[in-house]
């Protein structure tokens, strides 16, 4: 059954879910079991497997639901976010407590404690193991997706931790199999695949951050990109757009040979309707700068409120000023960004740019 599930994870996000997933899983499990039996030589082994298959038959139909119930329990909003993340990774992911602890740079006993407390709360507070009823579903699906995306972003870094990205994508595939009609589930999976496709190209040999337009495209994972696009293509016909689908569409456009900046600017405007934030406004300003020129982008950046402590605002502003040939103002913005940046790779990048505008000015 486990193997059938793994096959489903590989095939369903690509091919779509069969009409009767339960029956499909069962048939596949049976076929797999028969294959295995043929490989096995002893009669005893054969009998054991057949018995396991017989016993499993009644519960097999419900297995996808059980798994989904577990996901909703682990991501219940009554649990703290770090508890949700830990429980999800431990219960549904393939990571040990020690691996999770290392990935989150927390001592192993602390992580073990966190798990014990979270499990205790599930029991004591009566957090239900079930797929939430329709009226609760949108909120709860959002909560599940947020946990998976958080795991992915932890892994995306910097510093990158590939095992967390892999785990988040695997969870995303589980969700896509279990909730094939939720376009945002597909949107998130597509988004993660499309981001992850550029993982190897994001850092150079010295471990320094490489910007998107300077990345070596031959190091992008073409298989992942194609997979991400296929998943997104399944989400869009469901005609219920949401923030993950919009972000995945933006990520897909960034992977085209020619970047369609006007389209990206429009999508950021759309994203700002779903999830308004000054960070989204900043991204839109950068896209507008690419589509209509740095002057227009700068106007938009200077109209954003409440982001003065955000280093990317200053580095984006610096970049536009640099392109407008306003070297000394650019240097000032690079300095502001440097004051706020802590990551060594990012600091190195900003220092390089600062030196460039100084020597050019």
């Amino acid at each position: 059954m486990q193997e059938a599930f793994a096959t489903a994870l590989e095939r369903w996000p690509r091919d779509g879910v069969p009409a009767n997933p339960g029956a499909w899983l069962l048939t596949t499990a049976r076929n797999r079991a028969i294959d295995r039996i043929r490989r096995e030589q002893t009669l005893r082994r054969k009998t054991e497997l057949l018995a396991a298959l017989e016993n499993a038959e009644e519960v097999d139909e419900t297995i996808p639901d059980e798994r989904l119930s577990l996901i909703f329990a682990c991501c219940h909003p009554a649990l703290a976010t770090d508890a949700q993340v830990t429980l999800t990774l431990r219960t549904l992911g393939g990571l040990t407590t020690d691996e999770i602890a290392r990935a989150f740079l927390v001592p192993e006993p602390t992580m073990a404690q966190r798990l014990v407390r979270a499990k205790k709360k599930i029991r004591a507070a009566g957090i239900p193991f079930r797929v939430p009823p329709d009226h609760l579903l949108p909120e709860r699906v959002r909560s599940v997706l947020a946990v998976v995306y958080l795991i992915f972003n932890e892994g995306y870094g910097p510093p990158p931790r590939a095992e967390l990205c892999e785990e988040a994508i695997r969870l995303g595939k589980v969700l896509a199999v279990l909730m094939p009609d939720e376009p945002e589930v597909l949107g998130l999976l597509a988004l993660m695949l499309l981001h992850d496709a550029r993982r190897d190209a994001r850092l150079d040999a010295a471990g320094e951050l490489v910007l998107l337009d300077e990345q070596d495209r031959s190091r992008w994972d073409a298989g992942r990109i194609a997979e991400g696009r296929r998943v997104l293509d399944r989400a869009l016909p469901l005609k219920r757009p949401g923030p993950y689908q919009v972000q995945a569409a933006i990520a897909a456009l960034h992977l085209e040979p020619e970047t369609d900046w006007p389209q990206i600017a429009l999508l950021y405007q759309r994203l700002d309707c779903f999830a308004p934030s000054p960070v989204v406004e900043l991204n839109r300003a950068v896209a507008v700068a690419m589509a209509e020129g740095p002057g227009r982008g700068l106007e938009l950046i200077d109209s954003i409120g409440g982001l003065d402590g955000y280093r990317h605002l200053h580095s984006a502003r610096a970049d536009l000023l640099r392109r407008l040939g306003r070297g000394s103002e650019a240097a000032e913005s690079y300095r502001r960004a440097l004051d706020l940046a802590t990551q060594p790779t990012e600091r190195a990048f900003l220092e390089r740019r600062l030196a460039e505008v100084r020597s050019g000015a």
Partner: protein
Amino acid sequence: MQYLLLIYGDENGWETMSEEERGQIFQAYGTYTQELQDSGAMVAGDALQPTPTATTVRVRNDETLTTDGPFAETKEQLGGYYLVDVGSLDEALEWAAKIPGARHGSIEVRPVMVFEEDM
């Protein structure tokens, strides 16, 4: 499972309210309590007198210390409770969200501890 829904709010707000506003709140609680009773989930429920009426008792070294006022001064005070018996936390949370006081104060939802006979 039984859950205690503790209703916290700023009791000073109540003092400064008009007669009409208080009437609306009473009515809202009446409707809510009726709905809770009809569903079969209600075990108990009461409103409490405001915190100036509270008295706190502690026993230390067999000596009883009685002080005026609530246990802790907080921005929001415990003003009432409902005890409900429902199937899961989700149902308790739904009942909590329907309490009129949830719109301006907060409802803390606490599962009631059960001691197994055979433990």
